[in-house]
Amino acid sequence: MIKFNRRQFIKAAGLTGVAAGMPLTAACAANHGGGSAKGRVVIVGGGTGGATAARYIKHLDPAIDVTLIEAGQTHHTCYFSNLVIGNLRTLDSIEQRFDNLRASGIKVVNQKATAIDTNAKTVTTADGQSHGYDRLIVSPGIDFANNIEGYDEAAHEIMPHAWKAGPQTALLKQQIQAMPENGVVVIAAPPNPFRCPPGPYERASLIANYCKQHKPRAKVMIIDAKDAFAKQGLFNQGWQRHYGDMVEWVSGANTNGGVKRVNPGAMTVHTEFDDIKADVANVIPAQKAGRIAELAGLTNEGGWCPVNFKTFESTLVSDVHVIGDAAIAGPMPKSGYIANSHGKTVALAIVDIMNGRDPGQPSFLNTCYSLLTSEQAISVAAVWGLDANGEVVTKNAGLTPMDASDAFLAREVEYAKSWYKNLVSDAWG
């Protein structure tokens, strides 16, 4: 692949008098054995980050060959999975398909990527196929670190994490509905950094919302590894107002770091000081980048992937970009909205690179809504850019105001539903 920097490119365009992009189309096509494609992008992970990147690359430059490799046949979004657990939505309503991406000319391969060879520039899938790339995007989401003794694969089926949506979501929902009227739900909340900082607390709210109607003597207990959490003041206000002492949060300081061990047979969770018997145990372990990122040598000692914020290219391996939860993204949280924002940034950057242009400056936006009840939601919003050194700077950030009116919080529910619908249709078409 011939690479042009901006100055050379302007010169080339000026000399030949041809409009932007044209000479390179020809040059790159020749390099790829006469095919019409300008270059090959392979994307591992068809969740929010990967689907968005695929859609926008194809939209911005249909001449780029795009292959999306996703382990599942479909993808369940984690966002709004707390509404499923709280019986406000069906599991089917958060299931995304790949038909529209396929129809737009993206090759979708429903296989697990088992290996990435960053020297040969190939991805191998479980069916033994090899997929060559010029640029690779990795958006595998998260996997779990082993910080809780006894929480093995078998334990996941008894004490669901429900931190990857799908069967785990259905299991947790079913357990809550089946528990006794005075049941105790224990949520073991993870240490930082983890996907969706307000997620465990929205979950507690929506489980309480369900219990208030169906099991009014139940209790929801959050045993946290941390001493503070996202939107804390707003959640506390909402819990006091709607659930009284049904929801209890136990700070990490009170247990020296939260749940350390579980015993699925006895349905108990253990901190350094207490043994707690649960009717339903939702154990959310510490997290790290999806396993395939580690296999490809993209992770640092902390288990996450360092990247250049302008292009999301790995700082460890060239021609490989990491986006979404797996990336270390400075002050940007691990959220669906930001994975979508990363997906567009990497799409613009790769399209620029494959057309011989210098990648432009990125702009990032995040908004996360959390439902307190079926009628009230709160949100956090932030805008980021890059400074002259390529570091992420916060342009503005803010929360729903405290003491907002019912009308305000009800509007946030309507806008949260719009957020979901527009976000998934932006990513999966």
Binding site: A13, Q361, F364, T367, S379, A388, R411, Y415
Partner: protein, 202 residues
């Protein structure tokens, strides 16, 4: 020949702009980030957040500046708008103004449509400025037909209850609406779903 020179100047001008403002994100880089709430290229798939595609440039800029200054009620746009410079807002205004308006495909109460039409067309009512059934706005006003119905209701409520500033021309008709009038107008505006209705030669 003259034409060619202008074209060449434009082309080099474009390229030069790219490097001179190496520090600012492109209109696309900025505007793409709004899609998660306002839809791909600003065409919202609803059910409440408004479409931005096809908003008149000045209306867009005024809205963003009002959100920044806190003079327009907002649940979230105040916090978002404060993240951008005026130049960035102008770049996004151009981007969205150049996208095609896509009227919302939504359900509405068909039995209210004709009542809504008469209210819009009363003397000195909404239709004075929101012409042709709300599919066209005079001056820098946007089309209000085809916008998502919950958003129309929220906007009317903002004017009437939450202090969104309005001129006297606007205040009179908006304050005159009864609750059932509002529902009739909402149904009428929602009934305008054919994109061809929005092609005007004004």
């Amino acid at each position: 020949m003259k034409q060619k020179l202008i074209q060449a100047a434009l082309l080099s001008g474009l390229l030069a702009t790219g490097s001179a403002f190496a520090g600012s994100p492109s209109p696309q880089a900025l505007s793409f980030t709004c899609a998660g709430c306002h839809g791909f290229n600003g065409a919202s798939v609803g059910p409440a957040s408004p479409s931005l595609a096809g908003l008149p440039r000045d209306f867009f800029i005024d809205a963003m500046v009002a959100y920044q200054e806190g003079t327009r009620p907002a649940t979230v746009m105040d916090r978002i708008a404060k993240g951008y410079t005026l130049e960035e807002i102008q770049a996004m205004a151009d981007f969205f103004a150049s996208q095609t308006y896509t009227p919302a495909q939504q359900s509405y109460d068909a039995s209210l449509v004709s009542a809504g039409k008469s209210i819009m067309e009363r003397r000195r009512s909404c239709g004075t400025c929101h012409e042709e059934g709300g599919t066209f706005g005079i001056e820098d006003l946007p089309q209000i037909a085809g916008q998502w119905s919950p958003y129309i209701r929220f906007s009317i409520q903002d004017f009437r209850e939450f202090g969104r500033p309005m001129s006297d021309d606007k205040a009179r008709p908006i304050e005159a609406l009864s609750a059932s009038d509002i529902e009739a107008v909402v149904a009428y505006l929602a009934s305008k779903q054919d994109p061809a209705l929005y092609q005007h030669d004004h």
